[in-house]
Each structure stands twice: as C-alpha cells, then as structure tokens.
C-alpha cells in the first residue's frame, strides 16, 4: 500500500517538478504555519526518549537478556511508523509547525529570544526522518544480534546510546528553530561520543570518542556564532519567520542588504558552514570520522555513515536561503566538498583496514554532497544523502559482519575468498551490490543516479574543475571499493586452515567480552557466519537501496520533496532553457551519464586487474612505486597525508604546551611570586626591622628617641614640603 502511494507521488511529481523552477536564486517555497492536531508527531521524539529511559532502568536493574534491543527496536520501529504516518498525512505544499512546549522564551521590550520546542514538518524533515528512523530501526535490529555477546549493562548502554542518538537526531531534523537544531546537534555529538567510546577499556576508543566530540565542538562554535548573528540580524531563530523574512525581500535583496550591513551578517553562512563541516567531517575537520570507527560497527553504519554525518548537509539545505547572504558562500562549500572528496578518496585507496576504507569513503561521499550543495543542487546533495545512507549502511554492516565472524579481522591483505565460505552468501552479495552503488555502476545502482546529478550540476554551474575533481574521485572510489570487495570476497577458496589463519588474533573492536561464551575456543579458530537478524537487515536495506533508484532520478519523488522545502533554491538553479539545436555537450545532465559510467567502470576495471585477476600485481605496483620518485606520495597516502600529525603539531601540542606554561605561570608567577610575595611583604618588613628588637634596653631607648626624631622631622618637614608643593602648583 505504501509502495503504491510512493509510486503515485513519484509519477505525480514528475509533472510538477519543473513548475517549481522559478529562476535563478529566487525559488519560493511554502513556509510552515503553526497547526493543531498533529501533536502526536512528538512521539517521534518521545519514543526514543522512552527507550532511553527504559534502557537506563534495565541497566540499573541488571537485565541480562536481549530485552533492551527489543525495546529499542520496538520504539524506533514505532517512531518510523509515526513518521510514515505523518508523511502520508502531510500536505507537501503546506508544511506545518507543531508546537510541543515552551523552551527558551525571553523578551525585553522589543528584543526577544524565542526558541519554542516545536516540530517543523516539511518535506525535507520528513525525507530525513524517514531514512533516519527507518535505518535506525533496522540497524538496531542488526545490533541486537551483533552485540549479543555483550548482553548485560553494556548492552543496555549501547541501546541507550542508540536511543539518545535517535532522540537527538529527531530534535536536529525536526526542530522548528536553530536552537532546537543546536540542541540536537550537540545531542548527536554526545551520542556519538558515548558510542564511539563504547569499548571504554580501550584507550584508542576513548581517545577517538574524545577527538570526535572536541573536533565537532570546534565546528559547533561556528554554528553557535552563526546562530547568535542570525538572532542579532534577523531577530528570530524560528525557521518559519526566518524564511518569511528571507523570502519577503528576496534572497538577493537580502544578500545585498547583508553586504551593506557589514561583515557580521555576511559571515553567517560561513559560520553555519563551519558547523556543518565539523559534523559532516569535511576539511579541515574530517579527522575525527576515521577514528570514530573504534565504535561498534552498527554505530559506524548508523551514525557515522548513514545519518548523523549527513546532519551538515541537512543544515545547509535547511538554511539554504541563508547561504545566499554572501556570494562566496556556496562556492566555498563546493570547493571544500570537492577537496575533501578527493583527499579522502586518495587516503582510502591506500588503507588496508576495510572499515577505515569505508570511513574514508564516507568522508569522500560527504564531500560529494557538500559539492552538491555548493553548486546549488540541494536536490543532488539530498539525493546522494538518501542513496548513500542505504548502500553505505550495507557496506558497514557487511564489514561488521565480517569483523564479527572473523574475531575482529579487518585487514584486506589477510581476508580472502569469502564468496566460497558457507553461510556468507548474503553478506557477500549485498556487499557486492552496495559496492556497485558506491562505485556508481550505471543504471542499476542508486549511487550512480545521485552522483550523476551532482557531477552534472557542477558542470552546469560553471565549475568544470570541480566537476573534474568529482569525476576523478568517482574513478578512485570505484577502484578502492572494488579493491575491498575483490580482496575480501574473491580469490582462491580458503580451506579450514586458511580460515583459522584469517581469524583476528586481537580483540580489536570485537564486541566480545567472552564471559560465559560457551564456544569461545571455536570462536577463535573458525569464523562464524551471521545469523538471521543480520542477514534480514542486510537484505532489507539492500532492497531499500535498490528501491531508492526509483526515487532519486531527476524530476522524481526526491526532487519534489526537496523543491518544496527550504532547499528549493537549489533545485533547478542551474537549469537554463537550452536551445533546441544545442549539441550533446551542451547539457551536462545528458553526457554525464555516459562519462560517469565510463569513469566508474574504468576504476572497477583497474581494481579487477590489480585485485581479482592478478592479485599479486598490487604488491608489485606498490613496490615499484616505493622505489620510484613517487615514494613520498605513496607513503604520505598510506599515512593519511600526515594530517593527524600535522594537527597534533600545529594545534594540539601548542595548546597543551600553552596549558602547561600557563599552569606554571599561574602556580609560580601569579601565585607564588605575586600573591605569596605580596603576602610575604609584611613578613619581610618585619624581618628587616627585627634587629631593632635585639633585647638590649639601650637600643630600645635609642629607637624610641629615633622615632621621636622622625616624628619631629615629619612635623618640621611636612609643612615645608606642602609649601613647596603648593608653590609648585
């Protein structure tokens, strides 16, 4: 039933999408109005909250079953149902605001800060919430099996964290003002912190969690400052009022006014951008995301691939009208996205840890999305978010399944021939399909459609260099994606002995504490294939990924959804009415389909050559390169371009040294020298004068007389001095 509805919307939208094209930079979109009667939308937030509280209760009462997982899955599933219901009920043309309760509401005379806790339900919100809650439910289901060895307090903690994440993500996406968004923004940061640091006994996990939070905070400062400035300039933080204001005088007019109004307004988009870059792991903040892979794989899939990291894209699409407050804002986004995409792809090529490859590929794909926003294609960005969510979730979940089955083994140099091992079929083939998507295999992969839009829009927007970078990155992506798949799933069939050798020898990220695990020995010697929950989830998400092909093409359902939201300015912004006799190359949307397919296939072919047909060639190539003058480049790529080390040397260490220096200053100069010194002053005076107290009577008499003389001199000299001073004055 739902499917038929989607189909009808899809077909209907195809006709109307063009109508939304109002020309360059002045796309109008409906602004939400407060409404009654949709109060149950609050359930989307309430259900994860309930799940969170229940998980806390379970943790305290020592539940040692899968109850937390089922509770969470039930709550999140219900939340998904509610979102679906909202979507079916909602009128895309008339978004609404659902006020829940009053949060911050201050006013003084004419000034006011108002941030009611309300839900802004428009197409963009619903789009995001649909895949967030949907994937959340599925991945929670996956985790119920994946995390089963941890049943107990840690299990509760995990699902509590997932619930917090969904709650915060709900606030982020559904909040009807920037402060609520900020609430969710920090909330997802915290959830991510908790979940990355899930294996808290591992120092690397704790450090990764800390790093994620702190790097995010840097971006958050930008976001916060952007929110302050927005409030200062526009006097409100509520989207509906903000959009009304921005649309009233037209975005261009607003931009001109902003330029006249001074830098305080002009930098708003850049500040918001900084927040987005932090959350979505773009340059220069991307460094936290690869480390975040320390978290359990479901977390990586849900938070660090599918949903949370797209919050930056959401923010920019949501505040797209504000992006036009400065003409350089959108190009900045585009270039940062492009640069990140390329940089991360180059790093991803040279990693051996499959989860890390996926992490860098996420960073790279997020770069595409930002490129999409930057070239004024919110539709492209949103479409890529949507498709990427599914296929990247699959990739991560399959990586997780492998890691789970092989006791933490993630090295693609070790793993091989999974295709031939019993019980891994679903994993292998869902992974294959997801890899196709990521590589942008023509027609049948969802990634192909969404990526094409972005690349084509880049050319249409008049940024061929960026488009070129995108294409290059696409090739690289195809290469490293299939490098992983060919390495892990293909190759000679491993016998039992080989399989045992493949097992991870450490507990790296393994989620096992092995307490009460009867088959411990077996575990360490032989891989175990995933069970029904993992396979079910993989299949469902893969089907969803296939299904998304139907939704993403141009003028389809997704474009319609975006066109009716605040991202409207980025739908069709680069469309120009082409003359009928324009050549093939005049419309990038036309030729990109072919070019991108070619590039993707080329990448796959190279991967196949190096990693499937000629598995030792890769090593030889590496050896050749290392012997050549390109040595440094290869090493740098393998070491992630030394960015972490650079940041450490440029930011962290100086700050740490400053901290130590200031502490020394505080302790020795301020406290001991100044304060204690001043405190010692009376003592020193006393010590100086103490020889006068020599116990000899005559000295006392002499000093007494001396005192009298001093007083006498004072009496005599003071009037003279005063006279002198008076005379001088």
């Amino acid at each position: 039933m739902i499917g038929s509805h989607l189909l009808s919307v899809l077909l209907a939208a195809g006709d109307t999408a063009h109508a939304s094209d109002h020309g360059h930079h002045s796309a109008h979109f409906p602004v939400a109005l407060p409404t009654e009667g949709l109060g149950y939308a609050g359930l989307v937030l309430a259900l994860p909250l309930i799940a969170m509280i229940l998980n806390g209760v379970y943790a305290i009462s020592g539940v040692r079953s899968k109850l937390p997982a089922w509770t969470t899955v039930a709550c999140l599933g219900t939340a998904f149902a509610v979102v679906l219901n909202l979507y079916l009920k909602a009128d895309i043309e008339h978004p609404v605001v659902v006020p829940l309760f009053e949060w911050i509401n201050l006013s003084w005379g004419t000034g006011a800060i108002s941030a009611p806790f309300g839900l802004y339900l428009d197409s963009l919100t619903l789009l995001w919430m649909l895949f967030v809650t949907g994937l959340g439910t599925l991945i929670a289901l996956y985790a119920s099996e994946y995390m089963e060895s941890d049943v107990g307090p840690a299990y509760c903690r995990f699902f509590g964290g997932v619930s917090i994440f969904l709650l915060a993500m709900g606030c982020l996406v559904m909040g009807d003002n920037l402060l609520t968004l900020y609430l969710g923004w920090e909330g997802v940061g915290f959830a991510s912190y908790m979940l990355i640091g899930y294996h808290f006994t591992k120092p690397s996990a704790v450090a990764a969690a800390k790093k994620a939070f702190i790097v995010n905070r840097i971006g958050d400062l930008g976001l916060a400052l952007g929110i302050y400035l927005t409030w200062l300039h526009f006097g409100t933080l509520e989207y509906s009022k903000l959009f009304e204001m921005l649309q009233a005088d037209g975005a261009m007019a607003a931009a001109q006014q902003a330029m006249a109004g001074g830098w305080e307004v002009a930098i708003i988009p850049f500040l918001l951008m900084a927040g987005a870059f932090g959350k979505s792991a773009q340059l220069p903040f991307y460094i936290w995301l690869p480390d975040a892979m320390e978290g359990p794989t479901p977390v990586s899939a849900l938070i660090h691939a599918a949903t949370m990291v797209t919050a930056g894209v959401y923010l920019l699409v949501r505040t797209f009208p504000m992006l036009e407050l400065h003409p350089a804002a959108a190009p900045t986004v585009a270039w940062v996205g492009g640069a990140t995409a390329l940089l991360a792809a180059t790093i991803g090529m040279a990693q051996y840890d499959i989860k890390r490859v996926m992490a860098y590929s996420t960073v790279s794909q997020l770069g595409y999305m930002f490129m999409g926003v930057g070239v004024l294609s919110t539709f492209g960005a949103a479409a890529h978010v949507f498709t990427h969510a599914f296929f990247k979730a699959v990739l991560f979940l399959t990586c997780g399944a492998i890691m789970h089955g092989f006791a933490g083994q993630l090295d693609l140099r070790v793993l091989r021939g999974l295709r031939h091992v019993k019980g891994w079929r679903i994993v292998v083939w869902t992974m294959f399909y997801a890899s196709l998507c990521l590589a942008g295999f023509p027609i049948i992969s969802s990634g192909y459609w969404s990526k094409d839009v972005i690349l084509a829009e880049a050319f249409a927007n008049g940024r061929p260099i960026l488009g070129g970078i995108g294409l290059l990155t696409a090739g690289l992506t195809a290469y490293y994606t299939f490098r992983v798949w060919f390495r892990v799933c293909c190759g000679p069939k491993p016998d039992d002995h080989d399989l045992a050798k493949m097992m991870g020898d450490d507990h790296h990220g393994d989620d096992h504490h092995d307490e009460g695990h009867g088959e411990e020995d077996h575990h360490h010697h032989m891989p175990h294939a995933p069970k029904w929950a993992v396979n079910l989830v993989l299949s469902v998400i893969s089907l969803a990924a296939i299904g998304s092909i139907l939704l993403v093409p141009e003028h389809g359902w997704l474009e319609h959804m975006v066109a009716k939201s605040s991202g409207a300015g980025g739908v069709g912004a680069n469309h120009h009415d082409l003359p009928a006799d324009a050549g093939f190359w005049a419309d990038p949307h036309g030729w990109m389909k072919y070019v991108a397919s070619t590039v993707g296939l080329l990448g796959m072919a190279v991967a196949a050559w190096l990693h499937l047909f000629n598995r030792s060639a890769a090593d030889r190539l590496r050896a050749t390169l290392l012997a050549s003058p390109l040595k440094a480049v290869v090493r740098a790529m393998e070491n992630k371009w030394y960015v972490d080390e650079l940041y450490n040397a440029l930011i962290r260490m100086p700050l740490k040294i400053k901290g130590h220096a200031l502490h020394m200053l505080d302790r020795y100069v301020l406290d001991i020298l100044v304060v204690d010194g001043l405190g010692r002053l009376p003592k020193m005076i006393g010590r100086t004068l103490s020889p006068l107290q020599n116990g000899v009577l005559q000295s006392y008499a002499a000093s007494m007389a001396g005192g009298v003389i001093l007083i006498a001199l004072l009496i005599l000299v003071l009037p003279m001095l005063l006279d002198l001073l008076g005379g001088a004055a």
């Binding site: 009053e102 201050l106 909330g187 908790m194 400062l221 502490h663």
Partner: protein, 524 residues
C-alpha cells in the same frame, strides 16, 4: 513567614549542634538544613515580587540605630533564587558529609550551619553593614572547615583563602563606607540602607568618585568571583577543602562575588562601570580561556574542577558586564547552574575520594567498570558543565555569550561596550571546556580500570549508596528542569535585571562619544 527564620534556624541549630551529643550532631544538622529548605520554599511560594522589580520580604530589625546599622532584610527575585540555591545545596552538603567526616563532628556541622546563616544573610541583607558583616562572616566558618577538615596542605590553603579574600573585601568595605559617608554628608544622617545608598551613589557621586568606588568594590568581589588574575586562592582552597566545603565554595561562595557585582557595582556606580567594561570584559574573557587551558593539564581531579570554575565564572562576569538583559539574565542563571553542576562534580569527586583516598588521575581510571552509577552521574554533570543544550548549562552560557555578542555600541535598545570579539574569544572556551572535561571523563570514567585498593573502613559500597544517589538525583533533575524549562525562571529575573540596567542605555553612548573624543585628541 519571616525571612529572619532563614538565618535564625541555622544559627540556633549551629549552637545546639555544637553542644549536642556527638551522635545526634548529624541528625540535628540534617533536620535543620531540611527545615531551612522547607522554610525557604514556603517563603518563595509566598514571595510576591516574582514578576515585578520590587523587593519583597522586607523585615526590619534594629541593630545600632545611631549609625544606621540594622539587620533589615529584603529580597528581589534574583536574590530569592540564590537563597533557594543555598538552601538546596546545604542539605546536600550536610548529608554528603555523613561518612566523610568522622572526627570533631559537632564542630564541623556547627560551622556548616553558621556558614549557611552567613550566606543567606548576604543574599537577604537590606542594610549595607549587615551585608558586609555577613559577607565577611562567610570566611570564618569556611576558614575553619578548610583548616580543620581539609587535605594535607590545609594550613596554607586556609590562610591564603582567608587573607586573600579578606584583603580584597577590606577594599570593598572602604568603597562602600565612602558611599555611606558621602550619603551621610549629603543627607545629614547615617544610613546604610542599600536601596537608598544605591539611588544616592548612582546619581550624586561624580564620575571620578564612582570610578574609584567601583574599583574598591571590584577588588573584593573580583577576588571572590574569582576573576583572572586574582583567582589563585581558589584552586588551593578547593583542593584542600573537605567535599562539603568545596561544594559550598563553588556552589554559593563564589556567587557572593557575582552577586555583589550585580547588586552593588552595576547599579551603584554606572558611570564608573562604563569606563571599566572593556577591561573587565577582557579579564573575564582571558579568564575563560586561561582557566580552561590550565584545567587541561591538571592531574588532580579536584584542581581541574576548581580551575574550571575560573573558566566558567569568566562567562558569568562577561554576561554581567554585557550590560544588557540577556547577558545579565544569563549570568544570574549561570550562577545557579554553576552552583548545581560544579557542586555536584565536587560531590562526585568527594565520593571517589572517600573510597580510594586519591584524586590523582594517574592512579584512577576506568571507574565505570566498578562504579557505573557514579559514572553515569559523572558523565551527566560533565555534560551539564559542558553546556550541552537540553541541560542547564547551555541556556546560561548561550545567553551570556549572546549578551556579550550583542553588546555593541550601536545596539539600538541596549548599547554595550563589548561586542562580537569578546564573545568569539570566550566562545573558544566552549571548545576548551570540551577538551578538559572530556579529558577528565576520558581518564577517570573510561579507559582501563585502575584504582588503589578501596578503603574497607569507609563503610561504603563499591558503587554509590542509596544515600549518595539520593543526593545527586535531585541535583540532576534540577539540571534537566533548568535545561528544558528555563523560561519560567528567566521571566522572574527580567524586571530586576531591567531595573539594574536602567541607567545604562543613556550612559553607554555618552561613554562611547567621550572615548571617541579622547581618541581624536590623542590621534591629533
């Protein structure tokens, strides 16, 4: 119900605790603080001036009528909130000390109760002398608490604490006395009535007089806050104080400084304030960053939290001197929030200390393995301290920063003398707060478990006992409540804040002009 009860109950119970049998001292103190809390709640519910700028609870009690000294009391909404903060924190302190304090119990609880009386006296005083006596009298019990039940370095800590703050407040006394003298000179009779003196000083003192009076008052209040660079007594005092002492110190005593700034400096010497705002703002901002950076290299947990107070109170002062309602409201809310969350952090650290007798992060770590409930609370209050939205810290920090941000001279309604740069610079404190607080949790809560053998004699379970949970839970709930529903509280602050700031919208432009003239003169 008379507000006099708020001071008399703790004071009388202090006397009775001091002479009660050893065994009942704790019980008497607990009951006394709980009764005081109940009384304060009743008084607060009857308080008639929540939504206007008036003073309620006016009570007159003569002391030395000839020189105008009295024990008169009054309170406006901000004062009432701080009274509530104090009465809420005191039972927590008393109950929290049950197992930690095993020797000289009677004296200990007696001093705590005296401290409560003095603190409430500060917030309720209507008479300047009464205010000052109470303000100074907080030092005495605190001194004894540190010196008597403190850590290994308690002797020097207590002396430094006492002398440092005392020296500062002597200057404050001089400034206030000057105002009183000028008032007596002008009106022909001594009076120490705070409203009268405030009205007099803000209008009748010349610019130079206001400036120096402000500097004198600032000397005492800034030390108490503590504002960079007069903060160095704080880490030592905090580190050495017993847990309850730290809680009160962070929770309430520091607020005496900011309360003094709010109650005296801002309304009394507006002309002086506008001259000093950029400098004070700069000090506050430096304090934010400075304190945070120092926190980040601490090994002693308690010292870390102590330095975090320096950082946090920098926000508070920045908000105060933004000279606009958002800053001031945020600042007052900050006082309450900081009291709750930092108080709770000290309490939590005290609980660990009771079990392991160390606060060294090199020796403690991964406590979540042994103490999950404690860790949950720790993470919660760290988040609150981090100003994560949805918890209490966020609203106040947000408002302080937004206040500083909008405090530009060209702001139409509330011109100020700070501006975006102060806010941006202080805003980096948000990042640094994340750094040091996560460093704290990363070392203490997470990571591989390491701890010295637990003290078998402490009589405490491995994780928190129900008594301890009972202490922390109300604080946590208040944090959530203030984070989710701050508007009710904020609305009560509005009128008083606007009354306090009444003079500034006219003064600030004048100051800006005179600064411009000065610049021109210097430039030419």
């Amino acid at each position: 119900m008379s507000p006099l009860l708020l001071i008399l109950i703790p004071l009388l119970s202090a006397v009775s605790v001091a002479f009660a049998p050893r065994g009942v001292a704790f019980r008497v103190a607990t009951i006394s603080t709980l009764v005081t809390l109940a009384v304060s709640l009743i008084i607060a519910s009857d308080f008639g001036h929540w939504y206007d700028d008036g003073f309620g609870l006016v009570t007159e009690l003569s002391w030395l009528p000839s020189i105008g000294a009295s024990f008169d009391m009054h309170a406006d909404a901000p004062a009432m909130w701080l009274v509530l903060l104090s009465t809420v924190l005191m039972p927590v302190c008393v109950i929290g000390s049950k197992t930690a304090i095993k020797e000289r119990v009677r004296e200990y609880y007696a001093w705590l109760l005296v401290l409560e009386a003095a603190m409430l006296g500060v917030f309720l005083a209507k008479n300047l002398l009464f205010f000052y006596v109470a303000f100074e009298f907080t030092l005495v019990p605190m001194y004894f608490l540190i010196a008597g039940w403190g850590g290994s370095n308690r002797a020097s800590a207590s002396i430094k604490f006492f002398l440092y703050t005392f020296t500062g407040s002597m200057l404050t006394l001089a400034g206030l006395a000057y105002v009183a003298w000028r008032f007596a000179d002008a009106s022909g009779g001594w009076s120490f009535d705070i409203p009268a003196l405030t009205a007099f000083a803000s209008v009748d003192l010349s610019a130079t007089e206001q400036f120096w009076v402000m500097m004198a008052m600032l000397a005492g209040f800034a030390v108490k806050v503590p504002l960079f660079p007069v903060h160095t007594w704080l880490p030592l005092a905090h580190t050495e104080a017993p847990t309850a002492g730290s809680v009160v110190l962070a929770g309430v005593l520091l607020k005496l400084g900011t309360y003094g700034l709010f109650r005296f400096v801002l309304p009394m010497t507006p002309v002086g304030v506008v001259e000093a705002v950029p400098a004070i703002g700069a000090l506050a901002t430096i304090g934010v960053v400075y304190g945070a950076l120092i926190c980040w290299v601490q090994e002693d947990v308690k010292k870390l939290v102590a330095y975090s107070s320096v950082s946090h109170l920098g926000f508070c002062v920045l908000g105060l001197f933004a000279l606009n309602p958002s800053g001031l409201q945020g600042s007052i809310l900050y006082m309450i929030n900081h009291g709750l969350s930092t108080g709770a952090l000290f309490l939590l650290i005290g609980m660990v200390y009771e079990r392991y007798h160390t606060r060294d992060m090199n020796r403690l770590g991964g406590l979540v393995a042994n103490m999950p409930i404690w860790s949950a609370f720790m993470v919660f209050f760290v988040l609150s301290s981090l100003a994560v939205p949805g918890l209490n810290g966020f609203v106040s920090e947000f408002l302080c920063l937004i206040g500083a941000f909008s405090a530009t001279p060209d702001n139409a309604q509330w011109p100020g003398l700070l501006g975006p740069w102060y806010a941006v610079f202080a805003g980096t404190g948000m990042i640094l707060a994340a750094m040091y607080l996560l460093y704290l949790t990363g070392r203490l809560v997470w990571g591989p478990y390491r701890a010295p053998p637990a003290d078998k004699n402490s009589g405490l379970p491995t994780d928190l006992s129900s008594r301890e949970i009972g202490l922390l839970l109300p604080l946590a709930l208040m944090c959530v409540w203030l984070g989710v529903q701050p508007s009710g509280l904020m609305r009560t602050l509005e009128p008083s804040v606007e009354r306090t700031l009444a003079a500034y919208p006219e003064l600030v432009p004048t100051q800006v002009e005179s600064m411009a003239v000065l610049e021109e003169v210097n430039g030419g």
